[in-house]
């Protein structure tokens, strides 16, 4: 039998009287155990993903098109009798970006004036300039970009990575999601679901600004009878009782796993406050992330937390910019100049600070930073000042471990309407992330509903052009 990760897992899962449900990743896959060498050397050991919820407008941020500026105000006609459709509105006239464009860095990448901070880092980034979705609608498009499938029910990328690699430490979960303070993204908690994978791979949701950031981490305040001592004494007694119980029931590893889960939980409970506590960070660091400014405080705080988490062993951190629903996100139907600049200001400085900070600490060498969104926006207007959804083309960028700095792959057509050359699909996008983590996306499979399911469905090519 070939000892690849998935084979061994399947082997144990099929054999195990009850092994199937336990945290297999921690049994077979933690790096410290050294049990399974990855198929090829990983460049990245961990990932921070910044997800722009709502469809960040590529043609107002990164995708500079002189033709769009030239044809501003004209009716859009792509020629050849091609039908132009918009998802919820009637297509308006072509609309140039209300922001100024300039080239930046050694690589000369165009970035609009909406992102002055990130513009300084283009030489560290690798751009996917022609990403394409198959949906123009938030729900399915978000699922596609988080789980590789349009319908609900499939594990998110973070869950797959948790399943494959586990956490880097015993004290923290492998996959953490940090939703916007304003609210959950589209698809709610399904955006971080483990789908049909065991529940321990779902994203641990941390509501950074809530009084109780992690659900169930502590008893409710009203339960005054529960004290640290009652817990310590109680867990000891419980462990004795459970050990005696398991002793009379040989061969059931699930019972032992539950006993251990109380120990793991206790360690996480001790580690959690430190994970979220930013008081130890210097004023300079906090200023860098914009934590002192109301507009950047929320995203800045969560970016800084993300850095602390990967330092402490979390494998995949997803930081969301923007909530679901009609406002306070990147879904700028009404007024690009007003709505998009608000969203951009909240994100720009903190994201740039994260890059600076990761680099300064040497973390960027083995950490992959990914910036993405579910789709782009139309080059023509909606109602004169906004833009409707556009799955036809959008932009994502990678930075850090294993990524070719200052590179770009693909381009859209002359209006930034549809991806035209070297298109990147969500499958390619996920295949590339997995590749950088040392995982062959075609080998990471789980049988469900009669099909060997993958994060990349039946497609996916690693985008080699942006790899170092």
């Amino acid at each position: 039998m070939q000892h690849t990760a998935s084979n061994r897992r399947e082997f144990l899962g099929h054999l195990g009287s009850g092994l199937g449900g336990i945290a297999l990743a921690s049994l077979v896959q933690r790096e410290s155990s050294g049990a399974i060498p990855p198929p090829f050397a990983p460049k990245a050991r961990r990932v921070i993903q910044l997800f722009m919820n709502g469809g960040a407008s590529q043609c107002d941020l990164f995708d500079y098109k002189p033709q769009l500026i030239a044809q501003h105000g004209q009716k859009f006609d792509p020629g050849a009798g091609v039908r132009v459709e918009a998802s919820i509105s009637t297509p308006g006239a072509l609309m140039k970006s209300p922001f100024e464009w300039a080239q930046h860095g050694q690589c000369g990448r165009w970035v609009s004036s909406a992102l002055p901070h990130l513009a300084k880092h283009v030489d560290d980034m690798a751009f996917l300039m022609a990403m394409q979705s198959v949906s123009n609608v938030h729900g399915p498009a978000s699922y596609l970009q988080t789980s590789g499938f349009l319908p609900p029910g499939f594990p998110s990328a973070g869950a797959w990575i948790s399943y494959a690699l586990g956490s880097l430490s015993d004290n923290v979960p492998a996959f953490v999601a940090l939703p916007d303070a304003k609210g959950m993204p589209y698809n709610g908690r399904s955006a971080f679901t483990s789908g049909f994978l065991p529940a321990n791979h779902q994203g641990t949701v941390i509501n950074a600004s809530a009084p109780q950031p992690i659900t169930h981490l502590r008893p409710p305040a009203s339960a005054t009878h529960i004290t640290p001592v009652s817990r310590t004494d109680g867990l000891k007694l419980l462990s004795e009782m459970n050990t005696a119980h398991a002793g009379q029931r040989p061969g059931d590893s699930r019972l032992q796993a539950r006993i251990e889960s109380y120990e793991l939980a206790a360690r996480f409970q001790l580690a959690a406050p430190e994970l979220l506590d930013l008081t130890g960070e210097t004023t300079a660091t906090k200023n860098l992330y914009g934590i002192d400014e109301p507009q950047t405080a929320d995203f800045g705080k969560r970016c800084l937390m993300a850095r602390r988490m990967i330092e402490r062993g979390v494998r995949f951190v997803q930081v969301w910019s923007g909530q679901g629903g009609g406002s306070d996100n990147w879904d700028n139907h009404g007024h690009i100049a007003n709505e998009l600049s608000t969203a951009a200001i909240r994100m720009d400085q903190p994201a740039a600070a994260l890059l600076t900070d990761l680099k300064a600490r040497g973390l960027l060498d083995d950490t992959l930073l990914v910036w993405t969104t579910e789709f782009g926006r139309m080059p023509f207007s909606q109602g004169g000042t906004g833009r409707d959804h556009n799955g036809g083309t959008f932009v994502s960028w990678f930075a850090g471990a294993g990524v070719k700095p200052g590179s770009a792959y693909g381009q859209s057509d002359e209006w930034s309407w549809k991806a035209a050359e070297d298109i990147t699909t969500s499958y390619d996008f996920h295949a590339t992330i997995l590749h950088l983590l040392g995982i062959d996306h075609e080998k990471l499979t789980v049988r469900h509903g009669g099909i060997d399911r993958r994060l990349t469905d039946v497609s996916g090519n690693v985008v080699k052009s942006i790899l170092a």
């Binding site: 123009n136 349009l150 169930h216 109680g234 007694l237 590893s253 699930r254 019972l255 509903g449």
Partner: protein, 895 residues
């Protein structure tokens, strides 16, 4: 695991004869297997199991101790624990039939249906919201949940249970519950944005319709056939004998329906009448010219037109004295008696109209909103796109010459010629809710009218002062009406037959003098009149209840979501891509079932319900080997924690092989022919077997069969989330056993979320929900299941979130689950109640600990346990001690 066990397990799997032929096991003909001769086997099940065990050289395990047995049985059949007293009584019961009596009592308990319905809802993928990006509520999903509970408690024969859920409306039109059963086909997630918001002419919208049918096909064929037919959407099934063409022929079966609220009547006669009228309505939509030109119809139209003329003449404009805009807009009178708004376009506004009219009766008031070139997009609204939002319409009347204040006139019904959607209609202008409104998107630049029928026709003397208020107070800026006119009628009222506003195209025809109308116009008018008459008859029936189900009759929700007048054409899609439609495919099914034809016998192909009826008959045909194998395996899987085939929704080549194929076939035939589809008989047979009653405590077979595929012992299972929750309420004496009804909401929502279309995003807070509120006390089956934001406690205990069909639940052990078991407010509060309950009944610490063990673990505390727990409770209180017991593996697992 010891290396030896691994080797042995490998040997076992190698030893079993798996040939290519065997992988096709589920499609082999069903023939009655010979029951092995096994001495002392109590039931046929035991004969099959013990024969395999002796071949492998493994002894079966002794029967579980009675205390363990009653706990296992009670949870297995009802999802609830026995009481300590019941355990005691059973342990000491000398009656030889004690166990059989216990089985009967539990199967007859209504708790049985509540527990087993949850299994069924896992497969149906039921929840109370749509899922996806906005995840709106489905307030009428629950009647289907109650239908499942009731059907199981009634022990409805399986054939009928299947037929009702696929085509109950067509096969049993006289039984309202058979229509409720159609909730099955609609139970899974549905993308509101794609189906309602996204334009109908986009690829996204058509793709959503395709995936919607795909989910129906996958649900039906996974549930009843244990097949993964949906794997053939893009190409012929890679592993099983299912062609892509067959897949699309199954899609064609469901091509006529959508998911929407479907009316049903609790009264069977009303249901029959409604069915008749709906049939008539469909027939009317396709009436031929001959009928529409027949003398009877022509006469009918003439009478109608005369009545209409009289009614139209009865509208008398109000004599408007003043119109005041409280938002500061300028309102000016126009030559035609209408009023025009200009100037300031305020954020919110109310037009206060003061008017009079000659003495007489008023039954209804008409508000006409009129186009005007001076308005954006020619109006009739003042907003940029020509729309308006009428949040409320109110009318007051003050008698002449008195100091008495004006009294409100009660409006019973509001209708309009055009509504933006079902939830943005004239009805929203009289619902007393400022946030909802009437609007006319996207039909701008034309006249529309709303008719407000008063509850009572009333006389008003001359010089009565009427005050009419047109409110735009829904918080959306600048959405006042641009031009309007108000009139009243004495002959239209809520008590007179409903006169739905006349559609525009009819109005156009009516303007042509009778003699000058073309035959096409005459026929269109006749058809419209007959349809209006049909609509009136439908509206006159007692208000129906609603169930979220599949239907071909529902009010359009906006311009993009409306019913298909006839089944939509289904093309075979090359590689599953909408851009590559191939041949047109009619309704049909699979060819791979032996002796069963793949053609469906459909009485009337244009009637979509006949397509479903034909599939229902095909599914329940005694020759359909999959149907019978599927259900007995599924039921078995819930009794043993694992099926004879461990992939209950996939009997194909990629699924599991059955551990006992002959037993599976024997059960299938027995269930079909002897038990006549009685699920309760099947439960009884299984739980009465020695195989099921075995102890879980042995380990002797692990060397040869570590996985217990041969069933040398019973499997230990963990309580489900629902069982944990219901047990806690049982122990705390807080369980409310009320059955059925709307789902109980066990969270609080932040802000003003309505969970309905047009409302704000949902902020669900489970953490601060009061665990003592009445809603918290119901059984878990009645919880409001919010697809994208599940209850965190239930989620960590592996309750499905309604994202995907769950035929086998995960049983996970995670730190988050541990946190929940230790810190969840509901669990902690129940432990406090349990402690109170114990403290009142027992006075000494020792007795209290004894009582806690008896209540929670259903056994006496052992000496050393008592000592330690008494000491612990002394320091930290009884509630903490109870919570430790609830966290124990002993409590959470069933031996």
């Amino acid at each position: 695991m010891k290396p030896l066990a691994i080797v042995a397990a490998l040997l076992t799997s190698l030893a079993s004869p798996t040939t290519a032929q065997d992988r096709n096991w589920a499609l082999l003909p069903l023939t009655m297997p010979v029951v092995p001769e096994v001495e002392g086997a109590a039931t046929e099940i035991d004969a099959f199991v013990q024969a395999e065990l002796s071949a492998a050289g493994i002894a079966s395990s002794p029967m579980a101790e009675r205390a363990a047995l009653i706990r296992r049985l009670s949870y297995d059949l009802t999802g609830l624990p026995p009481t300590h007293e019941e355990v005691q009584a059973f342990v000491s019961d000398k009656d030889a039939n004690a166990y059989a009596k216990l089985v009967t009592r539990l199967l007859e308990s209504e708790r049985y249906g509540e527990h087993w319905a949850r299994h069924w809802l896992d497969i149906a993928n039921y929840a109370d919201t749509h899922g996806n990006d906005h995840d709106y509520a489905r307030p009428n999903a629950w009647p289907y949940r109650d239908y499942v509970i009731q059907s199981l408690n009634d022990d409805k024969p399986y054939t009928r249970f299947v037929q009702e859920q696929v085509a109950g409306d067509a096969l049993f039109p006289e039984d309202p519950q058979a229509t409720v059963a159609l909730g099955f086909l609609a139970a899974g997630p549905w993308d509101h944005t794609l189906m309602v918001t996204v334009r109908e002419d986009t690829v996204d919208h058509r793709s959503a319709q395709n995936l919607d049918r795909d989910l129906m096909v996958a649900t039906v064929m996974g549930t009843f056939q244990s097949l993964t037919v949906h794997c053939a959407r893009c190409h012929d099934h890679k592993f099983d004998p299912i062609t892509q063409r067959e897949y699309y022929s199954l899609q064609a079966v469901f091509a006529g329906v959508d998911r929407a609220d479907r009316p049903f009547d609790e009264d069977a006669r009303t249901q029959t009448e409604r069915t008749r009228l709906l049939g008539e309505k469909r027939a009317l939509q396709q009436l031929d010219a001959a009928i529409l030109s027949s003398p009877e119809v022509v006469e009918k139209v003439a009478v109608w037109e005369e009545t209409l003329r009289k009614r139209e003449e009865s509208w008398v404009p109000f004599e408007i004295a003043t119109v005041v805009s409280i938002g500061g807009a300028t309102l000016t009178r126009q030559d035609d008696g209408s009023w025009f708004a200009s100037g300031t376009r305020p954020k919110a506004d109310t037009y206060i109209v003061t008017a009079h009219r000659p003495a007489g009766a008023i039954g209804a008031i008409r508000l006409e909103v009129l186009p005007d070139e001076r308005l954006p997009q020619s109006g009739p609204g003042r907003w940029d796109n020509g729309n308006f939002h009428l949040s409320e319409f109110r009318v007051f009347a003050a008698p002449p010459g008195t100091a008495e204040s004006a009294k409100p006139l009660v409006i019973a019904r509001a209708t309009a010629d055009h509504n933006e959607s079902a939830t943005i209609s004239a009805a929203q202008a009289i619902d007393g809710d400022d946030k909802s409104h009437w609007g006319v998107n996207p039909r701008y630049g034309e006249a529309h009218k709303a008719i407000f029928e008063l509850k009572d026709l009333a006389e008003f003397p001359d010089r009565t002062t009427f005050t009419l208020m047109l409110e735009h107070q829904d918080g959306v800026e600048g959405h006042g009406i641009g031009r309007f006119r108000l009139s009243a009628s004495d002959s239209v009222s809520a008590s007179s037959p409903v006169f739905a506003p006349i559609p525009d195209k009819v109005t156009t025809i009516l303007q042509v003098p009778v003699g000058q109308r073309t035959p096409a116009q005459q026929q269109a008018l006749a058809q419209a009149v007959l349809l209006l008459e049909n609509e009136q008859a439908l509206a006159a029936l007692p208000a129906p209840r609603l169930v979220y189900a599949v239907t071909r009759d529902f009010p359009p929700d906006g311009p993009n979501f409306s019913p298909a007048p006839e089944p939509r054409p289904i093309h075979l899609l090359e590689r599953g891509e909408l851009s590559k439609p191939g041949e047109l495919v009619g309704p049909g099914t699979l060819a791979c079932i032996p002796e069963l034809p793949d053609a469906l016998t459909i009485a009337e192909a244009g009637d979509e319900s006949q397509r479903r009826a034909a599939l229902a008959h095909w599914l329940t045909d005694p020759r359909n080997v999959l149907t019978w194998r599927s259900i007995v395996n599924r039921v078995w899987s819930y009794h043993f924690g694992r099926g004879l085939c461990d992939t209950p929704n996939d009997f194909g080549k990629m699924g599991g092989m059955p551990s006992h194929p002959e037993l599976l076939d024997w059960l299938a035939i027995w269930f079909r022919d002897e038990a006549h589809g009685s699920l309760k008989a099947l439960h009884r047979l299984i739980v009465s077997s020695e195989t099921w009653k075995q102890s879980t405590l042995t380990a002797h077979g692990a060397i040869i069969d570590s996985d217990n595929r041969l069933l040398w012992r019973q499997n230990r299972t963990r309580l489900t989330g629902e069982q944990v929750r219901d047990t806690m309420l049982t122990l705390s004496n807080h369980l409310d056993l009320t059955m059925g009804g709307p789902s109980v909401v066990q969270f609080i929502s932040r802000g003003d979320a309505t969970f309905m279309p047009g409302g704000n995003p949902a902020f669900l807070d489970y953490e601060h929900f009061d665990p003592d509120s009445p809603a918290a006390r119901r059984r878990a089956i009645y919880r409001f299941l919010f697809r994208t934001v599940p209850d965190p406690l239930m989620d960590t205990l592996d309750c499905p979130d309604g994202g995907a069909i769950t035929s086998v639940r995960n049983v996970s052990t995670t730190p988050l689950q541990t946190f929940a078991m230790l810190n969840d407010a509901f669990l902690i509060r129940q432990c406090e109640h349990i402690a109170m309950r114990i403290a009142t009944a027992a006075d000494s610490p020792e007795k209290q600990i004894d009582a806690a063990f008896q209540l929670i673990l259903l056994r006496d505390a052992r000496e050393h346990e008592r000592t330690k727990f008494v000491d612990y409770a002394r320091h930290h209180g009884l509630a903490n001690a109870c919570q430790l017991l609830v966290n124990s593996n002993e409590f959470l697992h069933l031996d």
